[in-house]
């Protein structure tokens, strides 16, 4: 039974790795931030699975804390950091690459 949960945790970790690819590719800063936000759900999922696998109920507290605070860095990003200057002069090209992706 523990084995199947470990496999599920491994699967979620693979998902996180795939999300890191999105973070590396971008193209906009928000796309990178999405990977950090993914921890709000996937990271919490891995934590609760680890709590069951390692039989440390305290890890559920860690998951709860992470879930409570998950929104803060995303909000700080949207309200404080993501400006034209951070986006850079590449703004026009950034939207263009997205269109290329779509085509």
């Amino acid at each position: 039974m523990i084995g199947s949960e470990l496999l599920l945790a491994l699967l979620l970790l693979v998902n996180l790795g795939a999300a890191l690819i999105r973070a590396a590719q971008g193209p906009t800063a928000a796309d990178r931030m999405l990977a950090a936000l993914l921890f709000g759900s996937t990271g919490v999922g891995i934590l609760v699975l680890l709590a069951v696998i390692q039989q440390t109920p305290a890890l559920i507290d860690v998951a709860l804390t992470l879930a409570l605070l998950a929104a803060i860095s995303g909000i700080a990003f949207a309200q404080r950091a993501w400006s034209q200057a951070v986006l850079g002069r590449r703004r026009g090209t950034a939207t263009k690459t997205e269109d290329n992706d779509a085509a």
Binding site: L6, A36, Q54, A71, I72, I75, A81, G88
Partner: protein, 316 residues
């Protein structure tokens, strides 16, 4: 292949990759976001290492305070245009000797790791032996506040010193909010009371399971940061004395108890076993408030004077 080992290996690879990205990427925003991701991955690593106390602190600090601090700084640096487009990690041949030395250092470290003798003192057993006298039943809290309480005392002093240093250097200037939206205040209205509740729970939990003053303070500080993002709590300015008084109060309480014990028992922070639990709870409660305000001040304390900006135009 063993699934647990596969999990650890993949986690280690992701951690190293995010760290490498944070250093080597040419764009500053990407570096900061990769560092935030690194912190979250590190939370998982601490969980794997059976260290839920550290995982709690890392989760609360990384998601709440470090991330917002770095994003704030990113906005400040990004606007001048100097931040973007730094050169990569290994662009020039000039750096080759340094890299060579670093690789030799790495090889030496790994060689030292591979034939390390087993420890001669069994610290976990010593801690377990002393636990009945510590006043708490969670070993990490016992080490933090009883066996090595002076470390914690000095650590609180270091945090105050860091804040003093920032005050001396000169506070960063408050930056305007880039966008405001209506959902964030609503979120804050529900989330901050829950965070306060969580902080109290963590403080209480510290005596018998993972948790304690540091984690509680980190969660509380994150709550204050969220209130600021929701524009409920304005930035603090240096003239507000209650901030300094509250920050010093926790440290002074800790110091007074330490001094009292030194006079009565002849040992710094040698608690009498009967009152140890009560004293630790008292110290931890004081520390939670002080540390929370101290940590939040790193983000909230901002200068009320406009920034002296010499020659903004002609910087390249």
């Amino acid at each position: 292949m063993n699934a647990a080992l596969a999990f650890d290996t993949l986690l280690a690879l992701l951690l190293l990759w995010s760290a490498w990205q944070a250093l080597s990427t040419p764009k500053l925003d990407r570096a900061v976001i990769m560092f935030i991701v690194f912190g979250l991955l590190l939370t998982l690593v601490w969980s794997r290492l059976d260290a839920p106390d550290i995982a709690l602190a890392e989760a609360a600090l990384g998601a709440g305070l470090t991330g917002t601090l770095l994003l704030d700084a990113l906005a400040a640096f990004g606007q001048t245009g100097q931040g973007a487009g730094s050169t990569g990690f290994m662009t020039t041949i000039r750096r080759f000797p340094t890299i060579l030395v670093l690789l030799v250092l790495l090889a030496a470290l790994l060689a030292a790791l591979s034939n390390l003798p087993l420890p001669t003192v069994n610290l976990p057993a010593m801690v377990a032996q002393q636990m009945p006298d510590s006043g708490v039943s969670h070993p990490v809290t016992a080490v933090l506040l009883n066996f090595r309480g002076y470390d914690t005392l000095l650590e609180v002093a270091v945090l105050m010193l860091a804040l003093l240093g920032i005050l001396t250097v000169g506070l960063p200037v408050e930056r305007p909010l880039l966008s405001r939206n209506l959902l964030v205040p609503i979120l804050a209205r529900y989330a901050v009371p829950l965070m306060t509740l969580a902080a109290i729970y963590l403080l209480w939990a510290g005596s018998h399971r993972p948790g304690g003053a540091f984690q509680a303070a980190a969660v509380l500080a994150a709550g204050v940061v969220l209130l600021n993002l929701a524009q409920v709590q304005p930035r603090w300015i240096p003239g507000q004395h209650w901030i300094r008084q509250l920050i010093s109060a926790g440290f002074l309480l800790f110091l007074c108890i330490a001094a009292l014990l030194l006079m009565l028992n002849g040992g710094l922070l040698h608690y009498p076993p009967d009152q140890a639990g009560l004293l630790i709870l008292l110290i931890e409660s004081g520390l939670t408030v002080s540390l929370a305000i101290n940590l939040a001040a790193f983000y909230l304390l901002r200068s009320d004077r406009p920034e002296p900006l010499p020659n903004q135009e002609d910087t390249p």
